[in-house]
Symmetry: C2
Subunit: 213 residues, 2 copies
C-alpha cells in the first residue's frame, strides 16, 4: 500500500500572503488543526499548526501567515509513492496529527491524517476470526466444519483445561474478531500455533477414524 | 486490553476559571491541541479544542475558558475500563485527535491520543513473518526448517508460478513483516491459507520420503 492510497485529497491549503486571521477562520470552519502553505504552483513552502497561532494577539493576526509558518526544512513530509508504513512510522515517531504529501515535483497532493491511518490499521483487527477457521477448513480438504470444531474443543481442553463443547466453541468464534483472538491467546504467534494445532488434531482424528473402519 | 492500558496519564488539564489566554499559553507550551476542563475534584466539566480558541480576539482572551468550552454532554468520553477497541472506534467515527478518560466517579484519569492508538495498532503489522514460520515449524514436530523452506518454495511455484529456491524464500521472509506479507498475499485469509498449505506440503513430503525408504 502506498501513501497515495491512504491520503486525503480533500484538504485545506493556504497561501503565504493570507493573514493569520484568514487562516484561523479557515481552520476553524474546516475543523483542521494544521495546513500546508503553498505557492501559486501548489508547491509546499511551509506548514501551519493551530496551536502556533493560538498565542498571537490581534495585531499579529493582521500579519501574513508566512511570518509564522514552519519552514519547509523542518516540516515532516511524505512522498505520494512512499510505502504507507512510512506514514505510520512518522506519525508515531513525531507524534503529529497529519502530514503533507507531495509528488515528485514537490506539489502538495494530499494530507495523511492520523485518523485515516487508525481506520486502515484497525481493519485487520476487525476481521472475524470465524473466517480464519473457514480458511483452515477449506485448506484441509476432507475435514468437515463439525470435525474442525470438535478438534478445537479438544485443543482448548488440552491447552487451557477448559471443558467446552464444539457448539460452544463455534458460538465463541462467531462473536470474536482477530484482534480479540490474538489478545486472548497472548499474541499472534500463539494464536497461529493454536490454529495449526487444531488443524493437526482434526487430521489425526480423521486418519484414526478411517483406520478404525 | 483496556482503555486504561492505552491512555496517557501525563496530560494537560485546565480549570473553568482559567482565562482563554492562560489556556492558550498552556496548549502552546505543552503542544496539546485539546484539553479537558475539570472542577476542583478533577471531575470532567468540559472540553477545549485549540481551533475553537483560534478565532477569539484579544478581548475574548481575557474571559474565562468556561464561556468557550464544549459542554460535557457533547464531549466524546471513554471509561478507563472500556475495551481499547472502543477507543479505536470512537477515534475513527468522530475523527478526533484525543479523548478524555474518566473513572467510575467521573474523574479524569487520562487521555487517549490517536498517536498512541496508532503505535499500538501498528505493532501487530511489524511482527516479523519469520516468527510465524518458526511457530509453524515448532508446531509440526519432526519437520526441519530446511524442509519447511523447501515446501514453501514448492507452494510458491504452485500458486504464483514463480521459481524460487528455498534459500531465496528464507531470505525473503527474513526481511518481511506480517503487515507486508498479508498485503503481498492479498489479505489475512490468503496469507493464512498459504501458511497452512506449506505445512501440509511439508508433512506430505515427509510421509512420502519415509515410505520411499
Amino acid at each position: 500500500m502506498k501513501v497515495k492510497e491512504l491520503m486525503d485529497t480533500n484538504f485545506l491549503k493556504v497561501y503565504p500572503d493570507y493573514t493569520v486571521e484568514e487562516v484561523s477562520e479557515l481552520m476553524y470552519k474546516k475543523k483542521r488543526y494544521s495546513s500546508p502553505v503553498v505557492d501559486e504552483h501548489d508547491k509546499l513552502v511551509g506548514w501551519i499548526n493551530a496551536i502556533d497561532l493560538l498565542i498571537l494577539n490581534d495585531e499579529d493576526k493582521k500579519k501574513e501567515i508566512k511570518e509564522f509558518m514552519h519552514d519547509i526544512d523542518r516540516v515532516i513530509i511524505l512522498n505520494e509513492n512512499d510505502e504507507a508504513r512510512e506514514a505510520v512510522i512518522k506519525i508515531v515517531k513525531y507524534k503529529v496529527v497529519s502530514i503533507p504529501v507531495v509528488n515528485n515535483e514537490g506539489k502538495v497532493v494530499g494530507i495523511v491524517r492520523n485518523c485515516d491511518i487508525t481506520k486502515t490499521l484497525a481493519k485487520l483487527y476487525d476481521i472475524p476470526v470465524y473466517k480464519l477457521f473457514k480458511t483452515l477448513q477449506e485448506q484441509l480438504r476432507g475435514i468437515t466444519w463439525e470435525e474442525l470444531m470438535e478438534a478445537a474443543a479438544i485443543v482448548t481442553k488440552q491447552t487451557t483445561g477448559e471443558e467446552i463443547t464444539p457448539e460452544e466453541y463455534e458460538r465463541r468464534i462467531k462473536d470474536a474478531t482477530f484482534g480479540k483472538a490474538i489478545w486472548a491467546c497472548g499474541g499472534l504467534e500463539k494464536f497461529f500455533a493454536g490454529l495449526i494445532r487444531i488443524g493437526e488434531v482434526a487430521l489425526a482424528r480423521k486418519v484414526a477414524k478411517k483406520r478404525g473402519m
